[in-house]
Symmetry: C2
Subunit: 166 residues, 2 copies
């Protein structure tokens, strides 16, 4: 897969830079006039100095908060185009299509922006019912009990079975 | 109200520094042995270089994602002690008890930590049913429709009535 803009998370890039096939699959940008591709809506997001915003994914069916990840401009544009959640991996410093390794993609039903324009909420259908790399439904499985964080959610699938490691 | 540690968001501070009354109201730190007050659980959080982590508040009843805010160590300690959500305001650069001006406090039922130890999820009871300073139930009221962000949630209460401005 060609992943444009793996460099700086702050890079601004038109969707016209994307492969044509990708452009034709966009779900949220329905207006195909050139004006729409300027993507003013992306300019309205208050990107932090590092070019990122926090992005929450919520299961559209169960309501569970699945993940908190990060998006740069390109990740959000890709998410809107493809209808699949894309993020910026801060640790790997690259664009990342959620589920590209695990198959646990997030189909995006809705993209929301908060009152300060600096946080995104995705309402998603979570493939496999597993959002966390630990094989759990969601990432927030540690609960504060007294003075300890306790894992309180079951592992649905062994990560070695998900990623084929080990 | 005395608010300790209004300075740097990265300051580490023991709960012993808090007024005794506050200490006695803590809800999540039930073990009163000195060891518990060292708060190893706070050390397990991966604070970013700026001393903050992202904190999502979710309505424990409706499941709605209400807010995304930021916590420093002290905000999280206070939240656990008092059972009311405290955040670090990046714009005002001070500790902030949610609802201190509006009355729309968040009573915390549960504190969760994610798999990477760098994001917090609070499950809360939202006083007044209003979490957003715009007078809406939650902050994520702008939905991407085509190439526009559209406000799709009603204002429950006029902000001027909430804050007494104007």
């Amino acid at each position: 897969m060609t992943v444009p803009g793996r460099g700086s998370p702050g890079v601004r890039r038109s969707v016209l830079d994307y492969p044509k096939k990708r452009r034709n699959t966009r779900r949220f940008i329905r207006n195909t006039e050139p004006a729409a591709l300027d993507m003013d809506w992306l300019d309205q997001v208050k990107w932090a100095n590092d070019g990122l915003v926090a992005a929450i994914a919520q299961d559209a069916v169960s309501g569970a908060v699945l993940t908190l990840a990060w998006m740069n401009r390109e990740a959000l544009a890709r998410t809107a185009e493809t209808g699949e959640a894309h993020y910026w991996s801060r640790s790997r410093r690259r664009l990342w299509r959620k589920g590209e390794a695990s198959g646990h993609v997030q189909r995006v039903r809705e993209i929301r922006l908060d009152c300060d324009n600096d946080a995104i909420l995705l309402r998603v259908e979570q493939a496999g019912g597993i959002a966390c790399h630990t094989g759990r439904e969601h990432c927030f499985f540690q609960r504060l009990e007294g003075d300890r964080w306790v894992s309180v959610e079951p592992v649905v699938k062994d990560p070695q079975a998900i990623y084929g490691h080990g």
